[in-house]
Symmetry: C2
Subunit: 268 residues, 2 copies
């Protein structure tokens, strides 16, 4: 998927919404537990209910991996039913020495045909480069995360810039060498930093988690990061998929997604 395709989808739907399919088998509505693959059935109904309001889906791999090989089967089935034109992100936060990152890239981009993957920056250029070699794919590099622990290392300062600023500045220099789109993860809970990142990188794409359960403010994020072309995705996971844990879970998830889209539309 190209940046202009994602832009067009965002403008058409007036939505930056990425729905996080962080599907925990222990939190499924009771009436689904008799299904052959309850995780897939849950995802199928969530996708059907939220697709009119969203432009992307993000699957946090931890939730599938935790189920062993069965979980990978649920993941593969879910990918098949996500409609064409949606960006589908593997939230995997991988990153390893070059020959190993290459394998992870093949797994997510070829075996599973994700459009994008999240990657951790600690190991530097040669741990990220193998993901960037795939034309049409996206890498979302962790820059500034939404969790409390982001303060431990990401704000370390060398007198000129913080580590998270160094990560994005360094990564921008990799972009030209590779065919994939390099984009960034920046948490909704850090709104002052988001404004600074946008002013410094006016054309960069950001994936923003942390709206909802983690306390980030949707309108602040839109004001600080949205551009005329879009260039942001705002992820909501628990706030949507667990809006209800009853038989009406999909209806309530759809309502929550619709409500978020309505708020987002104010920024177009």
């Amino acid at each position: 998927m190209s940046p202009s395709q994602l832009s067009a989808s965002i403008r058409k739907k007036q939505s930056f919404l990425c729905v996080g399919l962080d599907t925990d088998p222990l939190k499924l509505p009771a009436h689904l537990l008799g299904e052959a693959d309850p995780v897939f059935e849950f995802n199928r109904q969530i996708v059907a209910a939220t697709a009119p309001y969203s432009v992307a889906y993000k699957l946090n791999i931890a939730f599938y991996e935790a189920q062993g090989s069965k979980g990978w089967d649920s993941l593969a089935r879910t990918l098949e039913i996500i409609p064409e034109g949606m960006m589908v992100i593997a939230d995997a936060k991988r990153g390893d020495i070059g020959n190993t990152s290459r394998l992870y890239a093949r797994t997510f981009f070829e075996t599973y045909n994700f459009d994008a993957i999240t990657v951790a920056p600690y190991m530097g250029a040669d741990s990220v480069a193998p993901f960037l070699e795939f034309e049409g794919k996206w890498v979302f590099l962790l820059v500034l995360t939404s969790n409390p622990g982001s303060r431990d290392f990401q704000y370390m300062h060398d007198g000129q810039e913080a580590l998270y600023e160094r990560v994005i500045r360094t990564a921008e220099s990799w972009q030209q060498q590779y065919p994939a789109t390099l984009a960034y993860v920046a948490g909704a809970t850090r709104s002052d930093e988001l404004a600074r990142l946008r002013s410094r990188y006016p054309q960069a794409w950001f994936l923003v988690p942390g709206v909802g359960a983690q306390g980030g403010d949707l309108h602040a994020v839109c004001r600080k990061l949205a551009t005329p072309r879009g260039e942001i995705l705002i992820n909501s996971s628990r706030g949507i998929i667990y809006a209800s844990q009853g038989e009406d879970f999909a209806v309530q998830a759809g309502k929550m997604a619709a409500q978020l889209q309505l708020e987002m539309a104010k920024h177009f």
Copy 2:
């Protein structure tokens, strides 16, 4: 596994050797391809040949994940045949927000019963803590990696210390609060830094990759990091498991492991 158990095993075998089962299905000897599970059969023979000379096995998860659910089955079978008393490490380099790291921890420590996992530090304390809550398990936190990209961020300096030094100093303050053993990954290619780390952290455990294919010097690592109790594991993957790609692959892997153990014995 407790630190004293691992120490005892190291002293008894006069070996710091961790064999990396980074088993690439594309590099298997031709005569194994007819097996029902060629990756497992390869691992089974490698383990049988190298177990007399090693104290640990490290499985880089990328190689298994790349095969989809079949790969996870090969991994589970491999874990069953690694002899009692060996430390078994999931080289997964995971790290995510708290509730997600908790799931990864359950996957590797409970579903698969690994003794240890490698974890990436970028997201800070609450991304690492869930792994540390497991009594008897080990977390190997990435501190200084062996790849060229380690220079991009790990050496960033705030006037007092480099990022990799801050990671280990900060992590040492977490240790007391949790029942797991917190240990560190430091690459064999950084031998000056290894000496400094050992002098500052005389009792810390280090897992050292990068000997062999990546160019690290075995004796320099032993001189700089080994203590009377041991407190290091030295990983070799490609140098052992691909010592031959013919029918004699297991024999040659065993010879290579024996040779490494003989060199290591000089440091006892």
